[in-house]
């Protein structure tokens, strides 16, 4: 049959980031008259479900797959199987390993996202950056790559030696009070913040994996009355997150554009089905960069940023 169909496979279906990605893809697919089936892992790191989803897409005769991989290198054989079956596979948000395992990657540079907030935090503190006390609120003990890239990006931006850039927790910079995991939600954010505060109550910079974790950390700080003298930075750029920047809960956040990734991906599959053409990478990079922007109302010299008003216009949910 000649109707075009596409698959969207995300890491989970519980993170608003992926929900918005799916909404963006669905809207674009409807506009172009493409059938879209979407799949997701049950939890972060649920690799098996993603493999099963790829197999289902092949069995279903789809034309292309948009994939945010949980396990970027393990997924490669399954992706290869799909490509061998004539499907276009596009990695969204997270590059595969090696990156050319997919036909194209539409992604944000997570390391860059981290680096932006790191630089901003360092610049905001000025001279105090040398004796800052930093809490690192990460994603999970399994150290998934997004978490590691953002974390290491932040440290690089802040001017901390990251040692092995593939894992967090191996630094010896005394400014790092500690790492704790949050599962990327408010509850985990609050608990992790409390734990680190018990360790050192004088923490004054908080890196968070995403904005819900930041909101949780803020609640913990508020409960001991320190919400106004701690700098919280985060990554994502969801609408509640940007609103929290505007309200002063978060100092700055790096905004990503999942809707853009998704709609670009759908367009690419439509073109592939029509004439077999593949999308091109951004100049100088191995992937199509959908961009990242620092959102803050307190811009600093040397770091490009947009204000929360503009951030609200661009935010994704």
């Amino acid at each position: 049959d000649d109707s075009v169909s596409a698959c969207l496979i995300t890491k989970t279906d519980t993170n608003p980031f992926f929900v918005k990605m799916r909404e963006g893809a669905a809207a674009k697919a409807e506009e172009l008259g493409i059938t879209l089936n979407s799949y997701a892992g049950k939890v972060d790191g649920d690799h098996e479900t993603q493999v099963a989803a790829i197999e289902t897409c092949i069995a279903n005769g789809a034309d292309g797959i948009l994939l945010t991989a949980s396990d970027t290198s393990s997924i490669v054989p399954a992706v290869q199987q799909a490509r061998d079956a004539g499907l276009l596979v596009i990695a969204l948000d997270t590059p595969l390993e090696p990156i050319d395992s997919a036909d194209m990657t539409f992604a944000t540079d997570n390391f860059l996202a981290g680096e932006l907030i790191g630089k901003w935090a360092a610049a905001t503190l000025g001279d105090d950056a040398a004796n800052a006390k930093i809490a690192m609120l990460d994603l999970a003990v399994s150290q998934p790559s997004v978490g590691v890239l953002r974390d290491q990006g932040f440290m690089t931006g802040f001017g901390i030696d990251v040692k092995d850039p593939n894992r967090w927790g191996d630094e010896d910079d005394p400014r790092i009070v500690g790492h704790d995991v949050t599962a990327g939600n408010e509850e985990g954010g609050r608990r992790a913040m409390e734990n680190l505060l018990a360790k050192d109550p004088m923490i004054n910079v908080v890196y968070t994996i995403n904005e819900p974790a930041a909101a949780g950390a803020y609640e913990a700080l508020k409960s001991i009355g320190r919400e106004n003298d701690v700098l919280i930075v985060s990554v994502d750029g969801g609408c509640p997150g940007v609103q929290n920047v505007a309200d002063g809960v978060i100092g700055a956040t790096s905004q990503q554009y999942p809707l853009l990734m998704a709609s670009k991906g759908i367009e690419a599959i439509a073109n592939w089905a029509k004439d077999g053409s593949k999308p091109e990478a951004t100049e100088g990079k191995g992937f199509f960069d959908t961009g990242v922007a620092l959102v803050t109302d307190q811009p600093v010299d040397g770091v490009d940023s947009i204000d929360t008003k503009e951030g609200m216009d661009l935010c994704w949910g």
Binding site: D13, T14, N15, P16, V19, V43, D138, V141, G169, G178, H179, D180, V181, A183, G184, N185, E186, E187, G189, R190, R191, E194, N195, L196, A198, K199, P201, P212, A215, G216, Y218, E219, K222, S223, I224, P240, Q243, N244, D247, V249, G317
Partner: protein
């Protein structure tokens, strides 16, 4: 035609004494043994106090500060409330894997009813509590009337409720600042007060009161005795006059209600209404219950034990973080300490037997 064989008549002037044994070592030790036998929650309490003492020695005032100690209470409040519900269920030889999902969807209902439909916040809270109770009642009905295994029913319900939660809330968080402005009552359980330097929240108080009330109900009311009887041997309970179905349905419904309260307390704790929280509550609550000494086969144990079980995990977690263990090592050590806590428990019981 035939009377009793006359030899039986010889028992007529039977003596009525009972074996009175020279108990030997009297005093403290024997009284302690007796206390252990009559108060099963004593063992987890001992483990708890021992672990507090050890961390206190290792960490000094960093651990023994009012801040750290009340922090533990605040960190365990949600698990503590949910574990109370889980205790009831496990006492009936059941299990409830849907506790976390019920707590979260109840909090989402409270939030969305207030914000999406503009329902007055008090009404929204009542709706959330009712919704949680209803899910619990459905669990109970499937288990008691349809005779399905609790594990499967609540496993299915967990998936259903969690998926419904994400679909209904569209994964959207209601921000703390908005709640504080428009419906502060949702955050009531997070309200703080000071008692001599220590900070308590209403949520913590709710947990403490809940545990005491349930301990009373289980020990001193007919319903409580029936819960134990049903868990002990449902067939014997039915034969001896317990309405097993009614008891089971009421237990699961009450568990649902308590979980809904946990959902309310969750809003107080994290400030916002977030559909992604509470995902580990089922495993955490079961852990607390089992460390607290309630048998997964039902009928044995006390709810105070569960409370101490939850605190033991809380003490370990914070203590290890303060000692500087990193996240992965903490995870590993907590695993080891869970086993160790139960081993110590078993050892104390054995020595005391």
């Amino acid at each position: 035609m035939s009377g009793p064989d006359n030899y039986e008549a010889a028992s007529a002037d039977a003596a009525n004494e009972i074996a009175s044994f020279d108990t030997g070592k009297k005093g403290i030790v024997s009284r302690f043994h007796h206390a252990l036998h009559t108060t099963p929650a004593l063992v987890p309490l001992i483990v708890l106090l021992a672990s507090i003492a050890i961390f206190g020695v290792l960490l000094g005032t960093r651990f023994f500060s009012p801040f750290a100690l009340t922090l533990i209470l605040q960190q365990v409040q949600i698990v503590g409330i949910v574990a109370a519900a889980q205790s009831l269920v496990i006492l009936t030889a059941g299990i409830d894997l849907s506790v976390g999902a019920i707590a979260v969807i109840s909090s989402v209902v409270m939030g969305q009813f207030s914000f999406r439909y503009g329902v007055p916040v008090e009404v929204a809270i009542v709706c959330g509590l009712a919704f949680g109770t209803m899910i619990g009642a459905v669990n109970g009905w499937l288990i008691a009337v349809m005779k399905l295994p609790p594990f499967i029913v609540t496993l299915g319900m967990w998936q259903i409720v969690l998926a419904a939660n994400f679909l209904y809330s569209a994964n959207e968080t209601i921000r703390s600042q908005d709640i504080a402005e428009q419906a502060p009552m949702l955050q009531l359980m997070g309200a703080k007060f000071n008692v001599g330097g220590a900070v308590f929240t209403f949520g913590v108080v709710f947990m403490l009161v809940l545990v005491l009330v349930l301990a009373y109900v289980l020990k001193h009311t007919a319903w409580g005795r029936h819960v134990y009887a049903v868990g002990d041997d449902p067939e014997a309970a039915a034969l001896s006059g317990v309405n097993v179905k009614k008891t089971l349905i009421s237990v699961y419904a009450l568990a649902g209600l308590i979980c809904a309260f946990a959902g309310w307390a969750l809003i107080g704790r994290i400030g916002s209404v977030s559909p992604t929280s509470g995902q580990l509550l089922n495993i955490e609550s079961i852990t607390a219950v089992v460390i607290g000494g309630i048998s997964l086969f039902g009928g044995r144990g006390s709810i105070l034990g569960t409370f101490f079980g939850a605190l033991i995990v809380g003490v370990f977690t914070l203590g290890l973080r303060l000692l500087g263990a990193d996240a992965q090592w903490t995870f590993l050590l907590i695993g080891a300490l869970i086993i160790a806590a139960v081993a110590v428990d078993q050892w104390i019981r054995k020595v005391a037997a």
